[in-house]
Symmetry: C2
Subunit: 613 residues, 2 copies
Amino acid sequence: MNEDQIYAMRHSLAHITAQAVQHLWPEAKFGVGPVVENGFYYDIDLGEVKISEEDFPKIEKEMRKVIAANYPFERSEKAIDEAIDWADAAHQPYKTELLNDLKRAGTTVAKDLDTETLGVAAEGEGAVENVSFYTDGDFTDLCRGPHAESTGKVGAFKLMRVAGAYWRGNEKNAQMQRLYGVAFATQEELDRYLHMLEEAKQRDHRKLGQELDLFVTSPLVGAGLPLFTPRGTVLREELAKFSNELRENFGFRKVWTPHITKIDLYKTSGHWDKFGDELFLVKSQETSDEFALKPMNCPHHTQIYASQPRSYRDLPVRYCETTTDYRDEKTGELGGLSRVRSLTQDDSHVFARGDQIEQEINQLLSAARDMYQALGMKLRVRLSYRDDGKGYLGDEILWETAQEQLKAAVEANNLEFFEATGEAAFYGPKIDFMATDAIGREHQVATVQLDFVQPLRFELEYVGESGFKETPVMIHCALMGSIERFLSVYIEHTGGRFPLWVAPEQLRIIQVKDSDEVVGFVRRLSEKAAEHGVRYVVDESNESVGKKIRAAAKLKVPYTLVIGEKEVAEGKLTPRVRDDLAVDGREEQGYVVDQFFVSLANEAKARASKSSL
Amino acid sequence: MNEDQIYAMRHSLAHITAQAVQHLWPEAKFGVGPVVENGFYYDIDLGEVKISEEDFPKIEKEMRKVIAANYPFERSEKAIDEAIDWADAAHQPYKTELLNDLKRAGTTVAKDLDTETLGVAAEGEGAVENVSFYTDGDFTDLCRGPHAESTGKVGAFKLMRVAGAYWRGNEKNAQMQRLYGVAFATQEELDRYLHMLEEAKQRDHRKLGQELDLFVTSPLVGAGLPLFTPRGTVLREELAKFSNELRENFGFRKVWTPHITKIDLYKTSGHWDKFGDELFLVKSQETSDEFALKPMNCPHHTQIYASQPRSYRDLPVRYCETTTDYRDEKTGELGGLSRVRSLTQDDSHVFARGDQIEQEINQLLSAARDMYQALGMKLRVRLSYRDDGKGYLGDEILWETAQEQLKAAVEANNLEFFEATGEAAFYGPKIDFMATDAIGREHQVATVQLDFVQPLRFELEYVGESGFKETPVMIHCALMGSIERFLSVYIEHTGGRFPLWVAPEQLRIIQVKDSDEVVGFVRRLSEKAAEHGVRYVVDESNESVGKKIRAAAKLKVPYTLVIGEKEVAEGKLTPRVRDDLAVDGREEQGYVVDQFFVSLANEAKARASKSSL
């Protein structure tokens, strides 16, 4: 099936759902029933009757009857007044309301309504004359279509949930019941989707965040302001270190800027006008200066660039900074790490000459590619170009050559890409990276963005080869974007089974007996672990060995050593390796102590995704 | 001379200064003339006459005449009305004003005035009856004393500067001229002090900050909010890394907390009541929650501790975090890095049982000792205990044993210390570290502070061995305190000649010719440098070798390699070593490339203060 067919199929299932509900509860009043991502819903008013998940088998059974009957979907038209009479006669007050509105306001309003459900082709302006209906078997609905050929051709579906929804989204209106379903062309696709949902639930980063003790929130600190425990802080730091190292290889150098600034900085950059209402304002009790928490770092970095004269030979100047920005997000939208008020960016800015763009982009793309390869996520990129419209700032020729350089760099890096004309920012073209996680979801992650405007607004310059002053181009790039948001993706991608290099705890040493020999050996192992920079925990509690092993497994620790008298006597280590890290066909063997820790340190250093033991 | 004698000597010099001024400008009206750090001043009204530094030799010559005459300082008393008559007759309106105020308000006000200058012993309450005067030769001044025996016994002095000062510090009053001098018991001490001042001027961190390109400020960002360039960021990061590593060795683990919080956190901690006006308030446009920028990190860390149940076996729990706090300092008090609004703390907190205090303090002291030893600064510590007064919170027995444990730990670490009763915070005893810099100035740096109160306010607990809930003790510790302020000290301590491990640029490679051989060799060296993690810069400009060497010297780069055809042919490296790093008596010799970089990397790793080459 193509996209259009899947759309028609989902829309047809919305009708069939309503039809089944009407069979079961003939008094049902229907609202609208559109297609949504992966499925559909229908808003239904059943008066005092509340549908629950326990009713789903019954409704689905009724739907299957309609499907089995394989009714054709038949289109018909009625004049608007005739349609209103039909809705009245059918005791469908919501349909009546929609049709009356439509009649009153014509196509202008129809555009704002759900025209597919309304059964109008809301093109042009003026009075609505006819509306269309679709009928399958004993059910007729006001509808624009299109639909599947017949009720038998609607693929595989499942009702998922029911939730309250106000009629037309207005809380002053009646509350209806919104019945959601998902639908795919084949049962296999549906099963895959349901499995992915189940996996996603298991991997929910909020759940894992708690189970693995990664981050916490506090009502005293506030929503959207997570605090990171020692374990979570390791994740943040290791990922940020990797991200920085990849760029430091290309000459990026760290800078540091404060988290607050006079708003003058954002007035000059232009962010104040565009994003002023997303800023946290800071009130000084000592000065009349107006401050804000920084929502982004580029304006700060321009001030370091501008602090001394630059020549064409000094360019490119490359700064990177892992620093926290603050954005005044709505409280209702905050959840786990996906959306937070404190966003730590692995940010960087290049100040370059026009002829250096391709090389710089090239290096940044290669850094992004290396990063996501190591993280085991497939990347594809969107190249966002300008269109012929107005509102783009900066020199047109610069835009053109820049866009060519972007594309050349993407091709040179063998990255899967697609081009999107008209998707550029007003200040320059950009590259967005989409990464696919282990359960097939695609997330927007890194961006590389050209900027022709901020250098002008801040009057940045360098002395060109000719001796004249010229304006540099800025290149914004973050490999992860917000570390918090990226962690929400990465925790779910790995399901908390972090590879060694990023694992908060890399090695658990389980002490089986507290004899002098065993305690001494464990101490020696601890010292070796510390020496090799291994993050380890010794479990010397009085629990049973089985319980201790399960405790380590629950925390998804990559390696576990159980140390009893046998190990002391043999002087050999036989680590338990976490399932997903183990390499098939490798015989379990003992390691002498030094060899074990050297292997471990090398595996971590290589940022390997499999065990080297 | 003891402290009291030096005090009397400096005060006598204030009189002698006024006396000399009166000889030169008989119409002079005198304000007050107190002792200040290292010297004294006198406020003088000379009407239209402006004293300048050019007048200092003349005034000093006149002072020396008075000193040579060796007049005894003779004390006398007058009744308050008689004293007022004397001041009127002497045409000293400022003295008249002070005496009248004194008469009106009695000793209560006298306490707020400069009683030494006023010549009253402002003890007790009630009317002032008599005031004292001191006379030397032809000069008499209202004065409480004490003074040197005679004008001949006033050590060595020098007039330093003259500045405007409003009478009684009120800008509505007349502007006077404040004439400053410094004075020491011997000429040698004075010379040493003047030399130190000269050195301090050379080492001024604001001057070096610019010369060495370490940090910048921007009027768009605001006062007290420095931005760190790549070079300055290396300093911050290396010092913070060292500070953290020293504690990570003792089981501290990094955490991360946001820079803003609901003010509820500081209301619970008690900081809101005490320091509310030092906080930057943060206004959300999305929620009615009230936020503030965090001025300290302990309350945040309590929330991580409190996020899960703790048992006596889990303690101590040790967190460290290098994070930036914000304090709403007065604009007029901001300067360079000494006082800033953005303070990055190398902070840490231990949550411990009462019986663990000594061991924890011991470890922290040893970390502080190691740090300052590596930094080449002498440490001494002040042990601040409670006195018998009220207002101290927490269990008295806990206070007593804690103070004993503090002292035992200080002694175990062989630290020079002194004890200060009554200097503890209300919530616990503490240890303050004073570090002496290369030019003899002492700075307060690290602190270790016990806290019996915050754990109670946040209801922190752990399950004790007995099964009952108990309250942990908190131990606050920062080894540098504010990194910005510490950098202002450290930059001046080193004069910008940073040891290798902390030097922003460790190696400068000067390329002498651009022949293929030389360029290739320089490239090979660059690769080796990168491989060994050496921070290097290649100078391939077209300047002369001499100019390039001077450029590297100006930036105080530890090692410089000049690479021409000779070096390529020999394949040996003969580094130029910065003066202060060089070890006497070591013959300059060539190094093969690998050997050179291995030595460099080892020297940096060892955080050595001398060259290993």
